[in-house]
């Protein structure tokens, strides 16, 4: 990138910082801008999941009974365990951001690795759940069983809608988790090289925000998917 254009006098100091991109005047502006950009991105994510929540709301209000049956077929214990695990990973992520802000390189690396392990554990549990759905014939379009005892065909047809939404919502969530794990791997490598300092830790902060957002989605998915009319059991 050519710098023939020159800079405002104020940016001369900032140029010492090799992380400063040319369009910004100083590091403070760059950091706040990046973080604001991330927030706007998270708003788009809210609306992205919003379409699915919309479909969920409409069909749950129309077929409450089928949604209760669909919910009762999920693995409540694993779902709850996953909630605990994911919240734990949010804690380690928050502490990782704190470590980066304080310039504690070793703590940062280990907290990131802990977050990744917890995230992977979540995905593992989710995988076990998916495996169970396959075994029990709950996968719409593949092997959905319309002859579940106690469920008439008419209701089963509506249970399929619950299951479709379950797979779409948890699948999209899991996809976001996988992306998050990839991003964290990149962070660990960068952190290991000492890239993050108290003055420059924006990537850790941004990916932290992303990870907490993934947690937020699950905080709603858990009661909406796993906890419908559980008292019938």
């Amino acid at each position: 990138m050519s710098h023939s254009a020159g800079h405002a006098p104020g940016s001369a100091v900032a140029e010492l910082d090799n992380h400063l991109e040319m369009q910004f005047d100083d590091a403070e502006q760059q950091k706040e801008t990046s973080s604001f950009g991330m927030w706007v991105f998270l708003v788009t994510e809210v609306m992205f999941f919003g379409g699915l929540f919309m479909a969920y709301l409409v069909y749950r209000s129309q077929y409450p009974q089928a949604f209760a049956i669909g919910s009762s077929q999920l693995n409540f214990k694993l779902g709850t365990a996953n909630t605990v695990v994911l919240i734990f990973s949010s804690l380690t992520m928050a502490l990782a951001v704190r470590a980066a802000q304080l310039g504690q390189k070793k703590a940062l690396v280990w907290l990131l690795i802990a977050t990744m392990i917890l995230g992977a554990a979540f995905l593992g549990f989710k995988g076990i759940e998916y495996h169970e759905h396959i075994l029990e014939g709950h996968v719409p379009g593949a092997n959905f069983r319309y002859d579940t005892p106690g469920v008439s065909f008419a209701v089963a047809k509506e249970v399929v809608l619950f299951n479709i939404l379950y797979f779409c919502m948890t699948g999209l969530h899991a996809f976001h988790m996988i992306v998050g794990l990839g991003l964290m791997l990149w962070l660990v490598i960068k952190a290991q090289k000492g890239a993050f300092t108290p003055a420059y830790n924006t990537p850790v902060e941004l990916i932290g925000l992303y990870w907490h957002f993934v947690d937020l989605v699950w905080i709603y998915l858990y009661p909406l998917l796993y906890l419908i009319d559980r008292y019938h059991k």
Partner: protein
């Protein structure tokens, strides 16, 4: 340096504790028959949990007004999508009787 607000470790642990307690509470409450209130309680707990995450883990409590506004706007627009669509589905039931 407003964006560099460093919280004490204690805060994070307290928020974490609250989140896990609320998770257990929501799981337990779900097994008591409260009728329609079950969903309401579950959602209230979810809102509380997400507010805690947003305010502390995501530092919104210590962020600029612009960030706060962005969060509020995002939630508000989701509510527009859900709420305005439901005006149709809810009021459809009124008009089935001619």
């Amino acid at each position: 340096m407003s964006s560099q607000h460093i919280l004490p470790r204690r805060t994070y642990f307290l928020v974490f504790l609250a989140l896990e307690v609320l998770t257990v509470v929501t799981a337990l409450v779900a097994s008591i028959d409260l009728g329609a209130a079950n969903t309401v309680v579950a959602l209230c707990i979810a809102v509380t949990k997400s507010t805690l995450v947003v305010l502390f883990f995501m530092h919104v409590k210590y962020s600029s007004k612009m960030t706060k506004l962005t969060v509020i706007l995002g939630v508000f627009w989701l509510m527009i999508l859900l709420g305005m669509t439901m005006t149709d589905y809810v009021s459809r039931l009124w008009s089935t009787v001619r």
